[in-house]
């Protein structure tokens, strides 16, 4: 069992591979790993409550993936309410995850 942090800085609406990032997070979780999906920069756009992609993030959260959205990125983009299952985070928490809270970090 390994701990993964998958950081998504790209807009999940932008690339075909974005859906693969979400699938990867779910697949690693299903294989018994601990997974955090960390949304930063344009990655937070999908986490706005009511966004069409937000449902996928909520699904991942229900499946046991920790889904976090970085506060400065969200605030810059005027996101005031996050989708269910997405928690607001900050750069200190991301640093802690990278240093102590994971075995591998994959940055998209």
């Amino acid at each position: 069992m390994s701990r993964y942090v998958i950081v998504t800085s790209r807009d999940l609406y932008e690339y075909a591979s974005s859906s693969q990032v979400l699938e990867l997070a779910g697949a690693l979780k299903n294989r018994g790993h601990e997974v955090t999906l960390y949304l930063i920069e344009n990655g937070v756009l999908a986490a706005r409550r009511g966004a069409h992609l937000a449902a996928r993030l909520s699904d991942l959260s229900r499946a046991g993936v920790t889904v976090l959205a970085e506060d400065v990125s969200a605030k810059a983009r005027g996101i005031e309410q996050l989708a269910d299952g997405v928690r607001l985070s900050n750069m200190d928490e991301l640093a802690d995850l990278i240093v102590d809270g994971c075995d591998k970090v994959i940055w998209y």
Partner: protein
């Protein structure tokens, strides 16, 4: 202080410049937090990211017609890099390496800031090998 069982060194590979991309801002904000945690940070700057450490960057005035909405001027990225390199003198270390191939083809080899090392692809892979965590910021296209 470095956490006992946590990462002690992180390699960050960056290929995008500032001013039309957010990645360098994020890298600098993250590097600060990693240094605070006693983690050594090796940045290998590649492609347009070598321009981040150009000397002689200056604040420019915003166009007059837009100063009401943009302010009078904005800071340049090398100011923040310099701050972090100085912070790295007194605790965990920050090494910033600009790829030699990339500085040469962009004509900025002689224009890199002090305390930036001009390095090679060999350095990149040595950083990666030695790192506890590797963060590569993708270049969007």
């Amino acid at each position: 202080m470095a956490r006992q069982n946590g990462a002690k060194s992180v390699a960050i590979v960056l290929a995008t410049g500032s001013y039309e991309r957010e990645a360098p801002t994020t890298v600098l904000r993250l590097a600060e937090k990693l240094l605070q945690r006693g983690v050594n940070v090796n940045v290998w700057a590649f492609e347009e990211a070598v321009t981040l450490t150009n000397k002689d960057q200056i604040d420019h005035s915003e166009p007059g017609a837009l100063q009401g909405i943009l302010g009078e001027k904005h800071s340049h990225v090398s100011k923040y890099i310099d701050m972090l390199l100085r912070a790295g003198l007194h605790g965990a270390k920050l090494d910033w390496v600009s790829c030699i191939l990339c500085v040469q083809e962009r004509g900025v080899e002689k224009h890199q800031m002090n305390s930036v090392t001009i390095g090679t692809l060999g350095d990149l892979w040595k950083f990666i090998r030695a790192a506890d965590r590797v963060i590569t910021i993708p270049s969007y296209r």
